[in-house]
């Protein structure tokens, strides 16, 4: 069998066996090992797995992941997420759909210290769903907003997906982070607009809440400014070149811990729980990275990425058509596979094509983050919808999927805006050296 044939069999086997519920990272490592062994030799495959696993686990650049995850976990255990919501709610809770808008605002603020879409969705679901229920918000609106709001977690830095994308493509993680800021703010605005239109059409979804006085509003602010301070400190230090992304993660986690201790919001037990959650999330991510690395070595020796790249070029399609096909593949893939796994799997294949057609790598990073974030709220495998469903056990999954639809439209609009106006993503990073 030619290497290409083995490569094709390997890819097909991966796609089919994913549905066996074997962990995605394990499966990629397994097929990568068998495939590499059949093309090169099993002796080299045996030493490859051990070397790849150690190289990934001991990578200095990847230790940024546990550190940024820890930062978000400490913030969660210190109750910062619910205080963010309280503040937003005191300001706009009296508007129709105001609580839902406050939820989006709190998601955006929380994502400034949390790098994961699922973690943002889970955290905000726990903090906001009971409140929205109390004010007779329909579950459809309440759960849909939280599920989609998690997507901000990964667009607004820090972002685990940007870290992994940056390492895979050798792009600057700092530049990728900064490229997500403007689209992240825009998406927040679009989400709010979507909610406003939605509640105007169907006022019964989100009735008005009580109005807070200005005194109460001002009083709620001190619980939230520290987020802004930490964000500016961490991102500022990163962009000014004062620290590496890993150091930014360490400093950010430490600063959040110090604030939480000073304000007596976290105790020893909370800190230990934050550490334990961090190890779990990090292991979950790194197993996928390690599996994808082994699988990537198999793909490289199978020459599939080159074959696909030259196959695509042979059609002589205009660049926008190529990009549309790639986006379409991510959209469909994102409906079935976890976004991180999807990116790890497809970047080695599509990235050379994207470069060949002269697309900006940073811009492409923002596009695939957006597109895969649509995947987490579309059936059948919408990870964020499952996460929110896990918190709101009385709400059926299809209701959450339906509730996330209006916000999905907002994401589609933003994606279409980014194609003619790539500056939305590339302007800010171009200012950084």
């Amino acid at each position: 069998m030619s290497p290409t044939t083995i490569g094709v069999i390997g890819l097909l086997a991966l796609v089919v066996l994913l549905f066996s519920r074997m962990p995605v990272g394990f499966l990629m490592a397994l097929i990568g090992f068998i495939g590499f062994g059949s093309i090169v030799s099993y002796d080299s495959a045996l030493s490859l797995v051990a070397k790849d696993v150690f190289a990934v686990f001991a990578s200095y650049n990847l230790t940024v992941i546990p550190l940024f995850v820890l930062m978000g976990q400490i913030a969660f255990h210190a109750g910062i997420s619910s205080r963010l919501f309280d503040t937003a709610y005191k300001f706009i809770g009296h508007l129709p759909g105001g609580l839902a808008i406050a939820t989006i605002g709190a998601c955006a603020a929380f994502s400034a210290i949390c790098g994961s879409t699922n973690a943002t969705a889970a955290t905000m679901a726990a903090a906001t769903l009971p409140e929205m229920k109390r004010y007779n918000y329909k579950p459809e609106l309440a759960t849909g907003v939280v599920a989609a709001g998690g997507g901000l977690g990964i667009l607004i830095p820090p972002s685990v997906i940007f870290i992994v994308y940056g390492i895979l493509t050798e792009q600057s993680i700092g530049k990728l982070f900064i490229s997500g800021i403007l689209p992240g703010i825009l998406l927040t605005v679009f989400f709010i607009a979507a909610i406003l239109i939605w509640v105007t059409l169907r006022p019964e979804l989100g009735p008005k809440g009580p109005k807070s006085t200005w005194k109460e509003r001002i009083a709620s602010l001190p619980g939230t400014v520290e987020i802004l301070v930490i964000f500016v400190f961490v991102m500022g230090g990163l962009f000014a070149g004062l620290f590496t992304p890993t150091e930014a993660g360490g400093m950010g986690a430490f600063a959040t811990l110090v604030v939480a201790i000073v304000k007596r919001n976290i105790d020893w037990k909370g800190f230990v729980q934050a550490l334990e959650e961090t190890t779990r999330i990090s292991a979950m991510i790194m197993v996928i990275v390690a599996g994808a690395t082994i699988f990537g070595h198999f793909l490289a020796v199978s020459r599939i990425p080159y074959d696909i790249a030259s196959w695509i070029s042979s059609f002589n399609l205009p660049p926008w058509a190529i990009m549309s096909i790639i986006i379409g593949i991510y959209l469909v893939g994102g409906c079935f596979i976890d976004s991180l796994a999807l990116i790890m799997l497809t970047i080695p294949i599509f990235y050379p094509v994207v470069l060949h057609y002269g697309f900006d790598p940073i811009w492409f990073g923002v596009i695939i983050v957006l597109v895969t974030q649509m995947g987490v709220i579309t059936p059948p495998v919408g990870v964020n919808v499952y996460v929110v469903g896990g918190v709101a056990r009385d709400v059926p999954l299809h209701v959450i999927f339906k509730g996330a639809m209006p916000l999905l439209i907002a994401m589609v609009i933003l994606t279409f805006l980014l194609i003619p106006f790539p500056q939305l993503a590339t302007y800010l990073p171009s200012l950084v050296k």
Partner: protein, 164 residues
């Protein structure tokens, strides 16, 4: 069957203890990077931070692997399996657990060989002159422990079949 439950409980508790090492290691690299950054401001960075953070990172992930599996924490696609009759599920899960066990057995075994070869060649890190092989043994320990967790998961499928 009571004995099986006891073994399962013991393995899970052990995985949790191993995970504590990972938790402590996360806290360690946080404090280490902070000490290094602050030290640098005063012209006295902590030497070897770069190497140490990477090596300890390997300990974090490999020691967190077993307990993450115990808590079903790995990302998997379950849309199809959720809709399958229990017998299909039990068989597929048993095969999955067994195959994964073999895979991590291989990784653990090869890591020991890799570590041995680096020990023999006396490979050390550039700044601290610290040997690299103990950290690879660490990966072997974590993957070996995961192997045991997966073996228990494999056996549990048969138990599930018996109860049905």
């Amino acid at each position: 069957m009571i004995s099986f439950l006891r073994i399962e409980k013991f393995v899970n508790a052990l995985a949790e203890k191993v995970n504590w090492v990972a938790s402590a290691a996360v806290a360690f690299i946080m404090f280490l990077t902070v000490a290094d950054v602050i030290g640098r401001l005063f012209g006295r960075p902590v030497p070897g931070t770069f190497e140490l953070v990477g090596f300890v990172g390997a300990v974090i992930i490999s020691f967190a692997l077993p307990y993450t599996s115990v808590r079903n924490g790995h990302i998997a696609v379950d849309v199809l399996m959720m809709r399958m009759p229990w017998l299909v599920r039990v068989i597929v899960y048993a095969v999955n657990a067994f195959v994964s066990m073999v895979l991590f057995g291989i990784i653990a075994w090869q890591s020991v060989i890799y570590a041995n070869s680096l020990m023999a060649s006396g490979e050390v890190s550039p700044t601290l002159q610290m040997p690299v092989y103990p950290f690879i043994y660490g990966v072997a320990v974590g993957c070996g422990m995961l192997c045991v967790v997966l073996f228990i998961e494999f056996l549990r499928q048969f138990r599930g079949a018996e109860i049905e």
